[in-house]
Each structure stands twice: as C-alpha cells, then as structure tokens.
C-alpha cells in the first residue's frame, strides 16, 4: 500500500487509543515506550476498564488491583501518554494522507479536575442517591462521586441529565428539585438558604405562588404532581419558627454606590436583596404606608398572612436596605439629585381598569384592588348579608369573591363573559371559590349599574355567546340580543384588568399601554442609569415573575455600577431534562400517591381569614419529597459546593469539543455484559439472591460493597452457593451462539474465593462442560475439585423460590442417575454471556468499520495480521474483537501496538 506523505501538517498525536481498559492501557504504554505521542481517550471517569473491578484473576489468584493498578499508574505518569478521561469520541474519519481526523468532546464533570483533591466530601454530603454501576447495582452511590477507590484520576464527577422540569419551568429558576432533595434529606435550613439564592421572599411564595413548577412536575404523569409549594411551606414555616430574625447582617464589603428602588413589591424587594448582597447601599421608596406591594395590599390573609410578609421583608432589611414608606416618587431627576447612582423602577401594576358603563360611579361599585386593600388594612367593607357581584374571570376576581364570602356576604357571584373553560383563573382557585359557595355566572356581561339615591341596587346584564377568536386567541364574546335581565346587587367589584402604575414616569420611557420600556435581557431603560422591572414592565403576572425580574435587574445593575459589560448571559440554566427518559427509567417504580395537604373544612373557611391550607407535618413533607424522581440527576441542592474546600465545583462547565489529527487509531473499546433477565426462567429480576457473575466478583473483591460475602436479600452469609454456567452464552434463544471463553474459569475462581471467605459453605458449579484450555487452567480445575467444589454436569432450566426464601434449581442431570432434578441453594450466581460493544463500530464515520458475524470488530486476517481492521491504519485491541482473558488481552494489545507503530513508520516513509 502507498500513502500520500507529501505536505503533511504536524500531527496532534501519533496515535489515539480509544478505551482505557487493560487493552488500551497496555497499547498506550507500549507505544509510549517506543517514543510515540499517545492520546488515550476513556469515556468513563476513570481508566481501568472492567478488570479493575474484579476480585482476583485466574489462574494465579493474584489480586486484580495488584495487576491493574500498576498499569493505570504507568499510563497516567507516562511522559508520552496524554490521558483524556470522561471524554467521548464523536467521529473518526480517515484522510487521504493516511492520518485520521477525530472529533471528540470532554464531558462536563462540573468539577475542576486540576483543583479536585479527591477527598470525597462532595459525595458524602450529596443528597441524591442512585445505584452504583461500578458495583453492578449491588449498592448505591451519590450523584457526586469518585468512581471507585482506586480510580485514576481520583477526581469527583457530577452527572446532570438536564435542568429538572420544576426548576426549569419556574420563572425565577428557584431550584425546586434542590430544596425538595434537601427536605427529603432532612436538611431544612439548607433548603431555605438554597431558596434565598434565587428568591428572598420564601414565605410569601410558599403561601401564594401559583407554583408553575408543579404543573410541569414529571411525577404528574404518574400518580400526581409533587406538591412542591407544600414542601416549601413546611420548610419556610420551620425556618421562620426557628429563626424569627435573619442569621446575617449587612455584608462586610459595603460599596459607596447608592441605588434607589421605586416600589417595595416583590420585584423591588428582590432587587434590593441581591444588590445589597453585592455591597451597594440600597434605599427603597414606597408610596404605601407599609412595604410589600401586592403581597400586602392585594393578597388576602387567608392565602398570605401579614406576619409572613413581615418576616420575608426582614430577609431584605437585615442586609441594611432602607425602606422609606409613604414616599411617592414623582420625578426621576429628583433621585439623581439626591445622589443615587442608579435607579430601579418597580412600581408594579395596581392601577385599575374602569368599566365605562352607566352607573360606574355609584356608591357600591368599586375596583378589586380598592376592595382588597381595604380588607387587608382591616377596614373591612360592610358586605354582611349583602349580594356581591364580582366582574371578571381571572385570579384577581377569585380573591375578592372568596374574601367577601369570609366577610359574611349573603351571596357572592362571579360574572364572566366567556365560559368556564376560558376563565383565566387557575382551576384550583375556581374550584376553591365554588366549594366555598361562590356562584359562577358565565357567558354574561354587565351593561348598566342601576342605583337608587346614588347607591347601587342592581346590575343589568346581557347573555353572551362565543364568536370567532380575537387577537388573544380566545373566542370573542358577542352579546345575545334580547337576553338583557336585571339582577339585584348591593356591591359590584370590578376585576377586569390592572394597569401599570407608571403615571409619573416620562412618556418616552413607556409604550402605548403605559408599560415601561426596558431591555428584555438587562432591564436597562433608555436612560443607562435607570432600570425597570416587574409588573410595570411585563404587565400583571405572578409574584415569582416579579422576583425573577428583580434578581435579573440586580445582576445587570451591579455590573453597570461596577463599570462592567452588560453583554453577558444572566443565569446558567441548562436545557430541560427530557421527561420521557425519566419516565422510562421509572416505569417499574412502586406507586406513591401524593400526600394530601391538610385543609380547613369548608364551613371553617367560610368564616375565617385563617389560612385554609394547613402546613404539612415534617413526616408528611419528607414523604412528599420522597416522591421526587430526581429528574435532572444532580438536584442542584448545592451541598457539594458548600463542603468542597478547594472550591472546585463549577456548574457553569460545558462540554469542551476538540478536533484533532492523529496518525493512527487503536480501538480498545471492550465488551458488554448480557442482562441476565433475558433468561426469565432463571429469575434474575425476581429473586434478590440470584446474582450475576460480575456482581459476585464485586462481592469477593477487597473493595466489596458489603462487609463480607453476603446475600443481597437480607445480608446473611450464604451456606450453599450455586454457580450456573453458560447463562446466555452458546445460546441461540438470546442470539448469542458464542462461548464466553472465560465463564468457566472465572466461576471456578469465584468458587475458590468463596470457599476461602465462607469455609462452611457448600459450593456447586452447574456446567454443561468445563472449558479450561489455557496454560495452568486445567490444573486450576483439578484444584477446584480437590478443594471440595462440586461440579454437576447439568443444564439448569428454571429457578424458583421456596417458602424459606431459599432457591430451588431445576436442572437436567446429565450424569449420575440422569433425568430432572431439584436442588436447594441460598445464593445463585449466573455466569452470564458477553456482548459486543457495538457503539465502537459507529465511531468510524468514513466507510463502514466491518463487524464479524457476532457484532465484534472484525480482524481482516486474524492469523497473519491480527488487530488489523478493514480500515487501513485503524487497529483493534483486546475484547473489542471478542471476549478473552487478561493475559490474552495483554498479548493482543501488544500486537496492536506493533501494527500501529509499523503503520506510522510506513506513513513517515521509513
């Protein structure tokens, strides 16, 4: 073969070796020793492959760690070998000059490997627990984890599947998955503090947030969404009961910069909190007598009690934020003159839309904000035994209606011009109102307020029908001629929309609807020193939207005040987790019904402004949190960040893509293991004490998951262990006709080790025939027999569980008396077959990398040129061609190294 060697640019590496098991490490070390520059790529967080997880190796019974760790150390310290762990190949293609272009990426580990000391503290504190794949699921590990004790590099990695849907959907990206995870772990104070990172008004949100997180919770697609807000209520109540005052004061590094915030609603308070945390001196100007905005003036106490708002505001004032109440700002220049370096307008949207029909100025006709304000300041309007009509179908209609019920109104009706389906209010609000006795008057609109002596006595209404959709997409209501009727009403409350409270600000800062114009990213207005956020910018939305805007404004104002560029992204939110993956993983989860939030009875609700939702108990909150499915893997509880001394956890990390040119490639991507559940009669997924061969190796390893060799079903030392050979090997029923080549030997190894660990145990190996073909292997077999291991020539057909928990093996006795037989054991090891790692084939993007009949990488001429594939210059090493033991793997990778070296020399024209 000839290679085009002209004008070749220098290679990034002479050779890239894919997969750092025994084969990859051996080839890397050999080629490094020859002086080639080697790149060794491994997709896992540690090198070592499967062999490092073994107990001992046959036939010498050397400890597997003693065999493999020196290889791991040698490649990791080799001057010519560059290790790239936790990295995946995206594609390999061959160039005309015989070299290879490689696209690959280093996965985000969310840990700075250079700084990580491998102390493992992050894993210890991590709140999410999953099965440990390095122990073949016999035990759990944490999401932050170092793969195993002998890992190289010994660095922690954190896995994230995406942002949890709850966190992603929350407009403030409050880490719902994180605090749910912390409550589940019993760490309530940490849960509260985590919430503060995204929103300071924890108590108010726990009572009155419309909880968009819940509507997107993955568990909602099973038994019902998690009651995330209920969990938050528990944690906030608990924290506030234990901490009547915040645990912190003003920050130490106070800056000279002064910020004025106009408005003390959720947006203004939230911005003040985050600005004050950065050290700015913040003053809030509030027109009302008390701070809190809508939290105080609009939301009735049966949803949000005043003392909760007060305690939330302490979170802000504890940082030294000064709130000047009863101070209406009517001119922005005035604030500049007072020496403020920047201003944030957060005046909300509490001006009312009027209804321009006859009688709108009668006594007894009022806006919902006015009504609720009076209620909340204790000037309860007299509605006792009166007929109250609330006009509108949004959430702001529900509050006055439900408040009027509590104040003893004789009858309360909600008059809405469209149907129930079109009502913008939340379903649970409408249902709550209906339960309390509010009547819905749908498809109806007022056309005239009728008065007597200046006082409202009736409303004339007309029925409506739905026509074509309007610009909002909802069908337009059209009056039905001749359907007019007069209804006796003593009080009419208009809840037909709120307008931005921006009357005092210059016209060039507003749009036609009076909303302030600010950049959607930075919230800066046309005046660089003035920012605007919250409902006065967005139109009325939700508390959490306003809080989110406040935090965003604070972020960019801080940068503006420090003279930094505003051209930076705000939050490090990553893509939302694909729920279907979570649901697929959870398809066999046991059913868990939602915990019912305790409620006051409807009778009690009708009489009192006491919160109708009662708090969950600690046990209930944890039980509800237990239903969380950790959608994003890492829950973002941030506990690891708090304990990592070298501060190496970095959730802003992104995958790093790389493109390289290498002279030759060696694929040493190893093999897969057959899932023993594919042989259903053997009961692997039915009986805990039926385990796989790889699991038994873990039980026998010095770094074993248990303290001894124990049964997974109950931690008992087994008395009678059976090994069943050839499970899913030499077996056409699972399309695996191959002999696994090592099963007989590793089972005998395990049997001998088990005998050492459990001298009293009976050990039986069920085999069709024993294949002990290598040097010293037959001796190993003889030694096993002489140690007292019983070999039964018989095919095991079925395993069942007996009443005492033991396992009955049904087998065909091929020697002895012959025929069907049954024997009892208390631990059964299935020596499973192996599979090709077919992913390896897909890595080559040129023509096809050829496979053999079984799906392993094909060696085109295994006899005279082993390790060569059909792609010139791309070689294969170790079990990627078919399963073999460690000595054969080492030998084969030596051959691959020699072939690859020869190819490089040819390419160089030598």
């Amino acid at each position: 073969m000839t290679l085009n060697t002209e004008k070749r640019p220098p290679l990034d590496y002479d050779v890239m070796i894919v997969g750092a098991g025994v084969a990859g490490m051996e080839a890397a070390a050999s080629m490094g020793d020859m002086g080639y520059r080697v790149l060794l790529v491994e997709k896992n967080a540690s090198i070592g492959g499967r062999a490092i997880l073994l107990s001992k190796v046959f036939p010498t019974l050397d400890c597997a760690s003693c065999v493999v760790t020196p290889k791991m150390a040698s490649v990791s310290h080799h001057p010519n070998v560059q290790l790239m762990t936790y990295s995946e190949i995206d594609g390999i293609s061959r160039k005309a000059d015989g070299s290879f272009d490689v696209a690959l990426h280093r996965k985000a580990a969310y840990v700075d490997f250079d700084a990580c000391t491998g102390c493992g503290k992050c894993a210890e504190i991590c709140t999410v627990t999953v099965p440990d794949q390095y122990n073949y699921d016999l035990v759990t590990r944490r999401i932050a984890h170092i793969p195993f004790p002998q890992a190289v590099p010994k660095k922690s990695v954190i896995t994230r599947r995406g942002e949890a849907p709850c966190t992603f959907t929350c407009p403030g990206n409050v880490k719902a998955s994180g605090y749910v995870s912390l409550v589940r772990a019993g760490r309530y104070k940490e849960a509260f503090n985590l919430h503060l990172e995204n929103a300071p008004l924890v108590g108010s949100l726990s009572r009155a947030c419309y909880a968009p997180c819940e509507s997107d919770c993955t568990r909602g697609e099973k038994e019902g969404t998690l009651h995330i807000r209920g969990i938050k209520r528990f944690m906030a109540d608990r924290y506030y009961a234990e901490h009547p005052e915040p645990e912190y004061g003003p920050v130490e590094n106070r800056l000279d910069t002064r910020v004025a915030i106009v408005g003390s609603g959720p947006a203004g308070l939230s911005a003040a909190f985050y600005l004050a945390r950065q050290g700015h001196q913040v003053t809030i100007f509030e027109a009302e007598k008390e701070p809190g905005g809508m939290l105080r003036t609009a939301i009735p106490a049966y949803r949000l009690p005043e003392d909760v708002v007060d305690r939330d505001i302490k979170n802000v004032t504890a940082l030294g934020v000064d709130i000047k109440t009863g101070y209406r700002i009517t001119s922005l220049p005035e604030l500049k003159q007072q020496g403020f370096n920047a201003t944030l307008i957060a005046t909300g949207a509490s001006d009312e839309n009027g209804l321009d029909i006859d009688g709108h100025d009668l006594e007894g006709v009022m806006g919902c904000m006015h009504f609720l304000h009076e209620v909340n300041i204790g000037k309860l309007p007299d509605v006792k035994n009166k007929i109250v009509m609330v006009i509108g179908g949004g959430n702001s209609a529900m509050d006055p209606a439900r408040a009027a019920i509590r104040m003893g109104a004789g009858k309360v009706m909600i008059n809405y011009r469209r149907g129930r389906k079109e009502m913008p209010a939340h379903d649970w609000e409408i249902e709550g109102a209906a339960d309390e006795g509010v009547e819905l008057m749908l498809m109806s609109a007022p056309i005239r307020f009728i008065g007597l002596n200046g006082k409202l006595v009736a409303v004339e209404c007309i029925s409506m029908e739905l026509g074509e959709p309007d610009e909002s997409g909802r069908r337009r209501p059209i009056p039905v001629k001749g359907s007019e009727r007069v209804i006796s009403v003593d009080m009419a409350i208009l809840a037909i929309g709120l307008l931005p409270s921006t009357a005092h600000f210059p016209a060039d800062m507003k749009n036609g609807k009076g909303l302030l114009l600010s950049d959607p990213q930075t919230l800066q207005t046309s005046d660089p020193d003035v920012f605007a956020c919250g409902d006065c910018v967005t139109a009325p939305t939700m508390i959490i939207n306003a809080i989110a805007q406040g935090r965003r404004a604070a972020f960019y104002m801080d940068r503006h005040l420090k003279g930094e560029s505003l051209n930076v992204p705000f939050d490090g939110v990553i893509e939302k987790t694909d729920k279907s993956i979570v649901l697929e993983e959870a398809r066999h989860f046991v059913e868990r019904q939602p915990v019912q939030q305790p409620m006051l009875s409807i009778d009690e609700r009708r009489k009192t402004f006491e919160c109708y939702e009662q708090p969950m108990t600690e046990a209930e909150a944890r039980q509800e949190a237990q239903r969380c499915m950790n959608c994003g893997e890492c829950s973002q509880c941030m506990e690891c960040v708090s304990v990592c001394a070298p501060q190496c956890i970095d959730f802003a990390q992104k995958p790093i893509p790389l493109s390289l040119n290498v002279g030759t490639v060696v694929m040493s991507t190893g093999f897969g293991i057959l899932n023993p559940a594919t042989k259903p009669l053997l009961g692997y997924d039915k009986f805990a004490d039926v385990i796989s061969g790889p699991q038994m190796d873990r039980l026998l390893a010095p770094t074993r998951p248990y303290n001894a060799v124990l049964r997974p079903s109950d931690g008992k030392e087994p008395e009678s262990i059976a090994f069943v050979l050839c499970v899913g090997s030499r077996d056409h029923t699972v399309c695996n006709p191959l002999c696994c080549r090592i099963g007989c030997m590793y089972s005998m190894k395990q049997a001998q080790l088990a005998m050492g660990a459990l001298p009293m145990a009976d050990i039986t190996i069920y085999t069709i025939d024993v294949r002990a073909f290598g040097k010293g292997y037959n001796e190993f077999y003889e030694q096993s027999k002489s140690m007292g291991i019983e070999f039964v020539k018989g095919k095991v057909a079925r395993i069942e569980q007996l009443g005492n928990g033991n396992l009955a093996l049904h087998y065909e006795d091929m020697l002895g008396k012959g025929g069907r037989n049954i024997r009892e054991h208390d631990l059964v090891v299935l020596t499973v077959g192996f599979l090709p790692n077919t992913n390896a084939l897909a890595l080559y993007k040129g023509s096809e990398l050829a496979a053999d009949d079984f799906g392993y990488v094909r060696e085109i001429d295994p006899i005279s040129e082993p390790t060569r594939t059909n792609v010139d210059g791309l070689f294969v090493a170790g079990t990627a061609i078919g399963v073999m033991d460690i000595p054969d793997t080492v030998l084969h990778s030596g051959a691959a190294a020699a072939q690859a070296a020869a190819y490089l020399e040819r390419m160089r024209g030598r």
Partner: protein, 87 residues
C-alpha cells in the same frame, strides 16, 4: 413445594431514592443498640432486601459499621459509627 412470586423485584433506582429518608429512620433504630438486618427490617417495616441497600449505603459513607463476626444464623450486627469529635 415452591411459591415463586411472579412480580419483579422492586426497582433498584426506586429503592436508592429512598435512602436519604430511610437512613435517618435506620439511625434512629440503631440509636437503641446494634441490630442485624432482619431486626432493622422488622423495626422499620420494610423488606430486608431494601434495608440491605440502605444500610450498605450508610456504611459506605461511614455512618454505620459491623461488629465482629456473623452470629450463628449468619447475620452480622451493625451499629452507628462513632463520629469523630469535630473539636
């Protein structure tokens, strides 16, 4: 003679997700003295297999340790590990 359950074993991920709650309950039980897995299982009201998973999760992160050798029935006793004095 046999009574084979036809249902699958409880999903390991599902069991794993309970560890954060169960370890506190197991710790409460071990507070009263060392126990074997069947004893913990009885006090907790959860199957021994699940207790095995949670207990060895606790052992992995140094919350519990075994005492001596297995008893006549082949079970070890486990106790809360004394946490080193932070001072």
């Amino acid at each position: 003679m046999s009574n084979t359950p036809t249902t699958r074993l409880r999903d390991m991920l599902d069991i794993a997700q309970d560890e954060m709650i169960m370890r506190d309950r197991i710790a409460d039980i071990l507070e009263q003295g060392p126990r074997t897995i069947p004893e913990i299982s009885q006090a907790l009201g959860y199957p021994t297999r699940e207790v095995t998973v949670w207990l060895f999760g606790m052992r992995r992160y140094s919350m519990v340790e075994e005492i001596g050798r297995a008893d006549m029935d082949g079970y070890f006793q486990y106790e809360l590990k004394k946490q080193s004095d932070p001072a």
